[in-house]
């Protein structure tokens, strides 16, 4: 298939080797500080995970983070895309504004939020204080019950634009005569939404779910800059765990194994989305 060749070439060249390489690593017990002792351990790196308490904690954290943020993204993006699909005066302005969070590099985004959430001089505290919602500055990121949701908020804020665009694109593709048919069939605004709009948005939703799930499960930057997994292990998500294992502990083998576990989960989820939201990708 000549049309696929360029993509395949790029992926083969750049993506396939890394994937196989880390798969290969995951079968060895590699600790960089012991360059001379790297035994082939077959699946031990994987089986070890079952007994690793922190690993399961991180899985739980990841699940919470992903579920919260992906559902928030999907809902907000749905609402915003429906809004932007309307015809009104400032539509163009609004749809440009909505892209702003996307345009801020992750690093700047994380720093911005860190600074907004700060318990000493943060803008959020300042705002709540001035509005008299709180009488003294609150602890945000340092509160282990709030941390993950606050990080999710920063993540959602950043990811909504892409999701919105993806949904908007599929909204725009709906042929208007379907609405005409539905109106004649007696469908109210709501039924038209349910029976015409939503099914037509399936492709967009599929993209959003796959992409955002992937991003949420793997998300790293915010955790790195905002909390480094803290306080305690409150934001110790799987991607952070992998990072620590790989770069702090220099255990490339088990890091790769965990990456593979995460990859399989992501793949399985994507597969489920593909199966449920569309027969084809």
């Amino acid at each position: 298939m000549i049309f696929l060749a360029p993509v395949m070439l790029v992926l083969m060249l750049v993506a396939v080797f890394p994937i196989l390489y880390s798969l290969y690593l995951s079968f060895f017990r590699i600790k960089l500080t012991r360059p001379n002792r790297t035994p082939f351990v077959w699946l031990d790196n994987y089986t070890d995970l079952f007994g690793n308490e922190l690993f399961w904690t991180s899985v739980a954290r990841t699940v919470v983070f992903s579920v919260v943020s992906v559902s928030a993204i999907a809902v907000i993006a749905l609402l915003v895309s429906l809004l932007l699909n309307q015809d009104f005066r400032f539509r163009r302005v609004l749809s440009t504004i909505i892209l702003v969070p996307w345009a801020i590099p992750y690093v700047a985004n994380a720093l911005m939020w860190k600074w907004i959430y700060d318990s000493g001089y943060g803008a959020l505290n300042g705002l709540l204080f001035q509005l008299d919602f709180i009488s003294r500055y609150m602890v945000f990121l340092g509160d282990q019950n709030k941390t993950i949701y606050l990080i999710a908020n920063a993540f959602v804020w950043k990811e909504v634009p892409l999701a919105t665009i993806l949904l908007l694109v599929s909204l725009k593709a709906i042929p208007s005569d379907l609405y005409a048919a539905a109106r004649v069939d007696g469908a109210t605004v709501w039924s038209r939404f349910v029976h015409v709009t939503l099914p037509a948005m399936k492709p967009g939703f599929l993209l959003v779910m796959i992409y955002e799930t992937m991003m949420a499960i793997r998300h790293f930057d915010l955790f790195f800059i905002l909390t480094e997994g803290g306080p305690g292990d409150a934001s110790h998500v799987l991607s952070w765990h992998i990072y620590v294992e790989t770069f702090r502990n220099l255990s490339f083998g088990s890091g790769a194994a965990m990456s593979y576990v995460l990859a399989l989960v992501t793949f399985a989820l994507s597969y489920i989305f593909i199966r449920t939201l569309g027969r084809r990708v």
Binding site: L32, V139, Q144, I225, P231, G232, F247, R248
Partner: protein, 408 residues
């Protein structure tokens, strides 16, 4: 990129200063240097990748905490074979020489060194009715409670206990000033020891947060930078930060408490002295460079240019101090009039010197430091958050240490 070019990588600090000094090096030696830098926060993982990936690299900056790890991994090479480098050891701070030595070999020349200082806001202390800063941790509590009561500050003591690379320095300071240690001479954990372990220090922090309320519960999210900012915004009366921050805190452009910030000796705990922790960063040579005699020679020259004398003077160290306030590891510079003048502009040289002599090396720097550090940080945070009691937090950390050491 000529074949004889050297590659040097640093974190993105004092970039212009480094570049100017490098240009002078090229002018004087004729050796070209490719100078790259990357952000401090991600420097270590960047270097790990470069080492593993075999990127061309000759000289780089190394943090004392990474030394054992990098040596064990075979990434950096000792430099004590180069006479032109060892000649400076006599004029260097002993603390620095020790910190660059692993298994009896020396791995570089000092880039900068500093220690954790105890700073206070003179105005607030006075307002609270005290005429001297605290000298013990109990006094810190005492003064703080008064300030709290008088509404001078909600959380008079600023402690930055967030998970980040600084955390170990803060913890070490607390432990050392309480007279404790993390490990004993055999390298086994001694943290759990009631008297000279880490228990007392952590207990102080836990009490400060939850019993006295003089340290914000947000300390677990506060990093060194945010803490510094909070202190600069006038939220706190006491702070534990790197000594070189003193200058910034007294700069009206950046600080709302400029002019009021003073340094005093680190408060001591029941069994402690006024000890603090010191750290240093150094210029190191990659094993890659060391393997090739010609390149090794050139790299040694480059290290000398930065870490030793260039054109007969400790030029780089001086520039660095004047530009960014970074402490130097070469004693003679203290006598430099320009430096004296600069120090006195914002601090008390005597206190600075006195505290410096009480700075101790981190005792946990081992090849498994990185791995343990993670567990330890989480354990301390759990105790501060009230998820576990002090004893079991320390025990967890202690067990992790012994296990890792065993494993090694």
């Amino acid at each position: 990129q000529g074949a004889s070019d050297l590659t040097m990588h640093t974190w993105s600090a004092a970039v212009d200063t480094v570049q100017s000094h490098l240009n002078a090096f090229t002018a004087s030696s004729g050796i070209n240097v490719n100078y790259g830098n990357s952000p401090w926060a991600q420097y270590r993982e960047g270097m790990v990748t470069k080492f593993v990936g075999g990127a061309p690299l000759d000289m780089m900056w190394v943090s004392d905490a990474w030394l054992p790890e990098w040596v064990e991994a075979g990434w950096i090479a000792p430099v004590d074979g180069f006479k032109n480098l060892t000649q400076y050891n006599s004029e260097a701070e002993e603390f620095c020489n020790d910190s660059m030595t692993y298994n009896g070999r020396q791995y570089g020349l000092t880039y900068y060194t500093d220690y954790m200082a105890f700073l206070y806001d003179e105005e607030k202390v006075k307002a609270a009715g005290f005429d001297a800063p605290p000298t013990t941790w109990d006094e810190v509590v005492e003064q703080s409670l008064v300030m709290k009561e008088k509404g001078i500050s909600d959380y008079p003591m600023m402690l930055a206990m967030a998970q980040e690379s600084w955390l170990i320095e803060f913890m070490s300071t607390l432990v050392f000033s309480h007279g404790g240690r993390f490990i004993d001479e055999n390298g086994m954990s001694s943290m759990t020891s009631e008297k000279d372990g880490a228990m007392e220090a952590l207990q102080w922090v836990v009490d400060a947060v939850s019993k006295h309320g003089i340290v914000s519960p947000a300390c677990v999210e506060t990093g060194e930078l945010s803490g510094l900012k909070a202190f600069a915004s006038g939220n706190h009366a006491f702070a534990m930060v790197a000594k070189y921050r003193l200058r910034m805190l007294n700069d009206p452009e950046q600080s709302q408490v400029a002019g009021n910030v003073q340094q005093t000796l680190m408060p001591k705990g029941g069994n402690g002295a006024h000890n603090t922790v010191g750290w240093m960063r150094f210029h190191g040579m990659s094993s890659q460079a060391a393997a090739d005699p010609i390149r090794a020679e050139a790299t040694a020259k480059l290290i000398e240019w930065f870490g030793g004398k260039s054109d007969g003077a400790y030029k780089f160290q001086k520039l660095l101090f004047l530009d960014i306030g970074a402490g130097f590891g070469v004693k003679p510079l203290f006598d430099d009039p320009e430096i004296k003048a600069a120090y006195n502009a914002y601090g008390d040289v005597e206190v600075i010197k006195a505290q410096q002599s009480l700075a101790m090396q981190k005792d946990v720097v081992t090849p498994w430091f990185g791995e343990w550090n993670e567990t330890n940080g989480t354990a301390w945070q759990s105790a501060i958050l009230g998820n576990t009691d002090v004893a079991s937090a320390i025990a967890k950390s202690s067990d992790a240490w012994d296990e890792l050491k065993e494993d090694y």
